[in-house]
């Protein structure tokens, strides 16, 4: 963030006009990334400082359909009891599997797997917590840390699967889809309530700060 950089006032800094999480602007655009990288490296040649330079090149805007938020129409079989979030989650994970497989095949990698817990097991861990019978913690981790790493893995699975679908949905479209249209999003929001109400400090911290993005909380509060 520019205001943070200005306050810290480091010797050399380049401010870039991209969404948080993408300091080099555009994925899979080597030329674009190289221009940003060269601009920041050229600051090493500036004779005096501190210097905070503004990088002028915006990232390309998302396509019109992505702005409308219709780029990620995943349809699920809702034969499962709508009240059983754990079962819905498990079904959804299965239905997304072909898309996640495709994402891994195309990218040659996946960012899931940090927890070492498979997606189906992740669904069971989350469902157990929602049902008031938390599963065992991962080795060396608190209940909050266990859920954090399991939920982040599961979210990465959903996001990677969604990105593989036609239309190249934007980051914001994928986020809206996850939190508004999936059982996982509903499960995470339910989990947040359970964790905040818990007596376990690690669960309170997890539910209060590191499960639901502030932007989503803000949107929900406005409804």
């Amino acid at each position: 963030m520019r205001e943070h950089t200005a306050a810290i006032n480091p010797p050399r800094a380049l401010w870039v006009p991209y969404i948080l999480g993408r300091p080099f602007g555009v994925p899979n655009d080597a030329a674009f990334q190289r221009r940003v990288l060269l601009a920041v490296l050229r600051l090493l040649e500036v004779p005096a400082g501190p210097v905070l330079a503004d990088y002028p090149e915006d990232a390309p805007p998302p396509a019109a359909d992505e702005i409308d938020g219709v780029a990620c129409p995943v349809s699920f079989d809702h034969a499962v009891d709508e009240r059983d979030l754990g079962a819905l989650l498990a079904r959804e994970i299965e239905e997304l599997a072909p898309w996640h497989d495709l994402a891994v095949q195309r990218r040659g990698r996946t960012t899931t797997g940090v927890s070492g817990v498979a997606q189906g097991e992740a669904a069971r861990i989350i469902a157990s917590c929602l049902n008031g019978a938390p599963a065992s913690n991962l080795a060396g981790m608190s209940a909050g840390e266990t859920l954090k790493i399991v939920c982040d893995d599961l979210r990465a699975y959903y996001y990677e699967a969604a990105a593989a679908r036609p239309g190249a949905p934007s980051a914001s479209a994928i986020q809206r889809w996850f939190w508004n249209d999936t059982a996982a999003g509903r499960a995470f929001l339910a989990l947040q309530k359970v964790c905040i109400a818990s007596n376990d400090k690690s669960l309170q911290v997890f539910g209060g700060n590191t499960l639901v993005p502030r932007a989503i909380m803000h949107t929900l509060a406005e409804r």
Binding site: E3, H4, A7, I8, N9, P10, P11, I19, L20, G21, R22, P23, F24, G25, V26, P27, N28, A30, Q33, R34, L37, L38, V40, L41, R42, L44, E45, A48, G49, P50, R107, G108, R109, T110, T111, T112, G113, V114, S115, G144, E145, K148, I149, D152, A156, Y159, E160, A163, A171, I174, Q175, S202, V205, N209, T210, L211, V212, P213, R214, A215
Partner: protein, 143 residues
């Protein structure tokens, strides 16, 4: 909070170091994106996360993952192409083209949410390690 930064004791210096010409610079990446290799210990809760992870320069791309605690920044870009937060391939290209001198053997990753005071000892430790790797300049990449 930002207003208080200028009042921090010992935080008023702005050391200005003139590096070698860019074409001779050896560059390392230090990121606060919470990156590490698959199988490394994930990062812990924000308040205690002053530790770092080592990312050897020959780490296969498929091994790079993220366990940052914050959910308030985009991860889809990194999922799609790690270079958008950790531009190691771009650095290697610049080294091959002789725009920079070389790429360091080791890169480092923090979670980056702890206080400046808590992070300072680790930053000093890292500075020593970077010197041993003959690094001239560090590319800091926040998310």
């Amino acid at each position: 909070m930002l207003d208080k930064i200028k009042d921090l004791a010992g935080f008023n210096d702005r050391p200005w170091v003139k590096p070698p010409p860019l074409a001779q610079c050896r560059i390392a990446i230090v990121t606060t994106a919470g990156l590490h290799r698959k199988g490394d210990r994930p990062f812990g809760p924000s308040a205690t996360a002053t530790d770092y992870r080592v990312i050897p320069g020959d780490t296969p791309a498929a091994d790079l993952v993220m366990s940052h605690q914050s959910v308030n920044f985009d991860r889809t870009g990194f999922q799609e192409d790690y270079n958008v937060a950790f531009p190691i391939d771009r650095l290697r290209e610049l080294a091959r083209g002789k725009t920079i001198g070389s790429v360091a053997d080791y890169h480092y990753s923090f979670m980056g949410a702890a206080t400046i005071r808590k992070l300072e000892p680790k930053a000093r430790e890292l500075a020593g390690l970077l010197k041993q790797d003959r690094v001239d300049a560090v590319l800091l990449t926040p998310v």
